[in-house]
Symmetry: C2
């Protein structure tokens, strides 16, 4: 193996990035949210970039993996799972499927993970999210070394641009107390959300609109979707209450919105509830909560619980695993789209590269990216007509902005330590002490 491909060093840089006060079923986004930037550096000095969740549980898993990698070639991405201990019980965990909590990360309520809304937290879910950043960084380094885009390392692109959807949020105008500010204003009723959608449409040209729901009573969110349908006739609309509804509520909303929804995303929590809803409505159900690992697939597919899986390469363990998930969905006749949580340009590039290789991606992908005012890549990616062009430059096709990285890391070092773990619930409770997780 060419020594140009051997990993010499892995650098981990935890950062805190500005985030607007976006509302969801768990509370409100913190003013700053942690991310982890992974740099894999080869002996020839080529640097590959990866990005993932930055909460301390992830950092604790990333450090030993970073220590284990030097000496391995960047081509060895299949080996990352074993190196990261995927499939092995964690300390205090009876088996890989058990739901005990790793340090720093108590499960805040049954079935919901504070950091990611991806069902019960397991050690493997955390490990896979860490592996995803290392795999992306290895592929970026490999592509840069070979002069090939990442999509070519995954069998080649089948499209030249990838479509994304607008990600609409109910939000406050500003964080209470200190924090980053912006000029988007509040969106706490149908008119506010429609105004937000119009601005997204104008700025980025998105064709599809997704509303993060589960924040206001279903009647209000139904009215918001109706208002969007009126403002943007014929455009694909999605509503995602993150499992905040009962089966009956979900069915009532599906019935009300059956003529305008492209799909309804995670209306209720858990595979059984989703299956019950799916059996009683023609509105397609999508998920990034009840199917977030390969282990969860057989039951969900057997129960016909979902029609569309919203994949997320962070959840599934990287870009190769995303392609494997696509093969599973293709085999079982399940649709595919992409989920997104707060992320920067490295992950957007990774999403775009792998999405470009998937013929069966027939829905616009989610992305939080337009909400991010800071990034560690330069120049920042630009959406045109809601799409990101698929880069043919070597690797992911993004350039690290070291000054920005250093500044965001300095924030991580100096800011309140509590910000190092994202906790939307604690954040809302700090100013709204009577807030309770919504359920309708």
């Amino acid at each position: 193996m060419d020594s140009m491909l051997i990993i010499d060093e892995v650098r981990l840089t935890p950062i805190l990035i500005s985030d607007p006060p976006l509302l969801n079923v768990q509370g409100v986004h913190q003013p700053y949210t942690p991310r982890l930037i992974v740099e894999v550096i080869t002996r020839a000095g080529t640097t590959g970039l990866g990005e993932t969740y930055g909460d301390r549980v992830y950092l604790d898993l990333a450090r030993p993996l970073a220590d284990a990698l030097p000496g391995h070639p960047v081509t060895d991405v299949n080996a990352l799972f074993e190196l990261a201990g995927v499939g092995r019980p964690a300390a205090g965990e009876r088996n890989a499927g058990a739901s005990s909590s790793p340090p720093h990360a108590p499960v805040t309520e049954a079935g919901v993970d504070a950091a990611g809304l991806r069902g019960v937290r397991t050690a493997d879910k955390l490990r896979l999210s860490v592996v995803s950043a290392f795999e992306t960084a290895c592929l970026d380094a490999l592509g840069k070394t070979l002069g090939l885009p990442v999509h070519a390392l995954l069998g080649g692109k089948v499209r030249d641009s990838v479509e994304y959807s607008a990600y609409l949020f109910h939000r406050w105008a500003a964080h209470p107390g200190d924090g980053p500010t912006d000029d988007w204003g509040a969106a706490l009723d149908p008119a506010g959300v429609v105004a937000q959608a119009r601005r997204f449409d104008r700025l980025h040209g998105f064709r599809s609109f997704k509303l993060k729901g589960g924040v206001f009573p279903p009647e209000q969110e139904i009215a918001t979707i109706r208002a969007l349908a009126e403002a943007f006739p014929g455009r694909p609309l999605r509503l995602d209450p993150n499992g905040a509804w009962s089966v009956d509520t979900s069915l009532a909303v599906a019935h009300e919105l059956r003529d305008v929804l492209e799909y309804l995303e995670d209306p209720a929590s858990g595979t059984d509830a989703m299956a019950e809803i799916a059996a009683r409505t023609d509105v397609p159900l999508a998920t990034n909560m009840c199917v977030t690992t390969f282990e969860e697939i057989p039951e969900a597919f057997a129960e016909d619980a979902v029609r569309i899986v919203l994949c997320d390469h962070h959840y599934w363990g990287g870009l190769h695993r995303t392609r494997e998930l696509a093969a599973l969905c293709r085999t079982y006749g399940i649709g595919l789209s992409m989920h997104s949580n707060t992320h920067l340009g490295i992950s957007l590039a990774a999403m775009t590269q792998v999405a470009a290789t998937l013929p069966e991606l027939h829905h616009a992908c989610d992305t939080h990216y337009p909400w991010q005012t800071e990034d560690v890549v330069t120049p920042r990616p630009v959406f045109r007509a809601g799409r990101i062009p698929v880069s043919d430059a070597p690797g992911l096709g993004v350039q690290l902005d070291r000054r920005a990285l250093a500044a965001l890391h300095r924030r991580w070092l100096t800011a309140d330590v509590a910000l190092r773990d994202r906790d939307d619930t604690a954040t809302i409770l700090s100013t709204h002490p009577t807030w309770t997780p919504p359920h309708w």
Copy 2:
């Protein structure tokens, strides 16, 4: 995209290779069997190699694909399926899943394909077998261009050698009439098969033994497996009658051999029969007949019809698709091994490269290769302790023997045209006119 990676030319060379008179449920192997060698040549003059079935139906599909490829980069293997028309109805076919027969290739009996024993023949199965050779050739060319082994293009090897099993056949000492000869002698009873196994063990060091069954009455084949178990205590044994048995016969054989079989392969034909058997025996069932495409997976997995899928990169559409199949098997808790039909060193190298990347491959792979006295690669691969080392040389790590290729192509040009389509049934009927397909 670097012009070094652009395909300049694709060469197709049909050949006829010597094959011994091996017996199976469909008759006897022809003295010569067709294979197709695919060479993908880049503008920089690098040649990638692929190999697949060579019957005329495959050639007819390969030619337009070869014409379509120049100008594409060798990285674009995801695009091969669309280019080959996978998923499109064939002329005269009502839909992609229908069972109508393409020219030259009548379905000889319900559920059995004369060329490959892979269930009902469909246009897509043929196309996927053709795509597999083109994909392998593209990966070989890409690896040679980049200086990387094919396994590194698939995420890297997780083992340094791949285990194969001895493939034991009932056979005649010689073909009736003209044809290649060898000194293996006949194997038409338990003693003959044990002698063959001893020679395989001595020559190649195989640990596992598979017997191609469905040739003699089950009692005789049970006795043969018993004789092998006595001669090689504790070694993994497999029996494959290619669906020649009824459910009751299959259950009786499974019961008789329950203490010595690693698995029983395709005892009966069709997913329903396999499921019925599987429900009533603890002997694991394997298949390369009822699950040979992604479309066949959901029903077979839902019915618990098989415990092990014998993958074959020719059937499944190449090395990337083989990895996708592995992901499906991993997800559903199904074991994985590899099927083999008469093939040469290019396909053996391709099997070894992809097998090296699959952590979940826990059974020795099948290979017909030791029966082949001719090859188009040089030097010929050598089994040690039943294993093939995983080459780290660029591409597949094999070298084309152009003199051998030319000679075998000359045979294809000059021999009886009937040999251009493999037909084990016609071959046995030519000397045993009263032969009928066995069923017990």
